[in-house]
């Protein structure tokens, strides 16, 4: 398998993740991601998308192969990568501010207490929650919780933001709103984003590049699609821009085929 080496950031080199039981979730994944781009990974359910994210986060180790970030090998989790989970993962005993503060205090040990708090406030203001920061997670809506999680992930100034189906648990309207919030924030302060999703629209709206996975087990990359660099992007382009429409059809066809194969497997 040929190596594509990006001088900037991010390379998975023939990645394979094998469980101790012998189940191969991912096989021979190679991909390089350019700095400060927005990459979506899309695939049928059970294709190992989340496994891939855990590997990138350093929460799991690949059985074979390596992951490089800025040319350095990933050996474990670290604050150079921020993670956003589908179910927010906010700690219920801390306020919104407390949750972000915990991240800042943990990841940026050089800061004083006051500086950490100031930084946490700043990021909560960025996601529009300056007035709700003393509330506990149970007092926040799903969308607000995920905004706290976004503030928390970005507050440690990661070079990569990993998002694991971040809008999956939200209703359709809140989801659209948050997608646009993420776009706005990302336009404002660029970081490399890897988004795991199963929504075609979401991938089209947000990404520079879409990585299409085949079905698991032993899932692999089926295709890498570069999107036209239309920024800032309006939601309407997905249905109107001919190139987007074409890509959308390709994605739908592939995902439907793969999903059918998964569902009809006995």
């Amino acid at each position: 398998m040929s190596k594509v080496f990006s001088p900037e950031l991010g390379l998975f080199d023939s990645l394979t993740r094998r469980r101790p039981t012998g189940y191969v979730a991912l096989q021979d994944i190679s991909l390089s991601i350019e700095k400060n781009t927005f990459v979506s990974i899309i695939g049928p359910s059970g294709c190992g998308k989340s496994t891939l994210l855990n590997l990138l986060a350093g929460l799991d180790r690949p059985s074979v192969g390596q992951i490089l970030v800025n040319g350095e090998r990933v050996r474990g989790p670290g604050p150079d990568r921020g993670i956003i989970f589908q179910n927010y993962a906010l700690m219920p005993w801390l306020t919104a501010l407390g949750n972000v503060e915990y991240a800042v205090e943990t990841a940026c040990s050089g800061l004083s207490r006051g500086q950490a708090k100031e930084r946490a406030r700043e990021y909560l203001a960025m996601v529009g929650l300056d007035r709700a920061m003393h509330r506990f997670p149970k007092q926040l809506s799903g969308g607000m919780k995920q905004r706290v999680a976004i503030a928390r992930a970005l507050s440690i100034s990661p070079s990569i933001l990993l998002m694991d189906e971040p809008f999956g648990a939200l209703d359709a309207l809140t989801r659209s709103y948050l997608q646009e919030e993420v776009l706005r924030i990302w336009e404002d302060r660029r970081v490399t984003v890897v988004l795991i999703t199963h929504s075609i629209e979401e991938a089209l709206l947000l990404s520079d590049q879409i990585v299409l996975m085949s079905r698991g087990p032993a899932a692999t990359i089926a295709d890498v699609i570069n999107l036209p660099s239309l920024r800032p992007r309006q939601r309407s382009v997905i249905d109107q821009h001919p190139e987007f429409v074409d890509i959308k059809h390709r994605l739908e066809e592939h995902l439907l085929k793969e999903t059918r194969a998964v569902e009809e497997r006995t």
Binding site: P77, R81, F85, A89, P92, W93, Y102
Partner: protein, 261 residues
């Protein structure tokens, strides 16, 4: 399920009436001699209760202590033994919940000793410590340690794994994760365990003290030797109220640490 809702006032009134009826039935059964000759009625018992409560803290030698004095002796033993048990059970429970090695090492003791009545340890305690006070505390320790330990360990194994992932991904040390994430996450389980432990300890102290020579349990034993049944009922009522108070403390603590509500 018979009624959907009754008002709070009505509930209190019903409870009050229920107690009154029970006292009345008790009085009738006793005066009719249906509970044995000389069995005290509720009126006599309440009169005794009033007398004991009018001066609860007198001290006329070891076999003639006020009911409050005896209660304080028992409470002191429970709080020391229980406190030591919590100090051991919480850290050990965290360890057992987090490490398979610790779990495997503690498990045989937990499985074997949990079902044994703590009173079985009384002779061992007396032999080793040669002191009834320390033996009492020791027995309370044994009785309190398991529920808190088991609940804490269970709490750790049921933590939302995303919390741990968040902490790890931020580069938190193991120690920081335990103190800042695991401990608060497990707090509701710890409190539930501590509540059960307190209940058990309060049950065990009465029985243990019958053999130890002071405290509220010994008071019952002493009044049995005096054949003073009203005083035994007085002790039962006092023990019940004290237990209720202890339980209420944990009830409100649990409410404070219920993150979902």
């Amino acid at each position: 399920m018979l009624e959907n809702r009754i008002s709070r006032t009505l509930a209190i009134v019903i409870s009050f009436v229920s107690v009154l009826v029970a006292l009345l039935v008790w009085q009738i059964l006793a005066t009719q001699g249906l509970l044995g000759k000389n069995f005290p009625g509720s009126f006599e018992t309440l009169k005794e209760l009033a007398w004991w409560l009018s001066d609860p803290f007198f001290d006329n030698g070891p076999n003639d202590l006020g009911i409050g004095t005896n209660l304080l002796i028992s409470l002191r033993r429970v709080l020391i033994g229980y406190g030591l048990a919590v100090l051991v059970a919480v850290p050990l429970g965290l360890l057992v919940g987090m490490s398979r090695i610790a779990e495997s090492s503690v498990n045989p003791f937990m499985q074997l000793l949990k079902p044994v009545s703590p009173l079985a340890w009384l002779p061992i305690g007396l032999f080793v410590f040669r002191d009834s006070e320390i033996t009492g505390i020791f027995v309370i320790f044994i009785s309190s340690v398991w529920p808190t330990l088991i609940n804490t360990a269970f709490g750790v194994t049921s933590i939302n794994p995303d919390f741990l992932k968040v902490s790890r991904s931020l580069g938190a040390s193991q120690f920081r994760t335990v103190v800042k994430v695991v401990l608060p996450a497990v707090m509701p389980n710890i409190l539930a365990g501590m509540r059960i432990s307190m209940g058990t300890a309060w049950l065990v102290i009465v029985a243990a003290e019958m053999l130890l020579g002071s405290g509220i349990g010994y008071f019952i034993w002493n009044e049995w030797n005096n054949l003073s049944l009203p005083n035994i009922f007085v002790a039962i009522i006092v023990i019940g109220f004290a237990g209720l108070m202890l339980d209420q403390i944990f009830g409100s603590l649990q409410k404070r640490f219920d993150y979902q509500a």
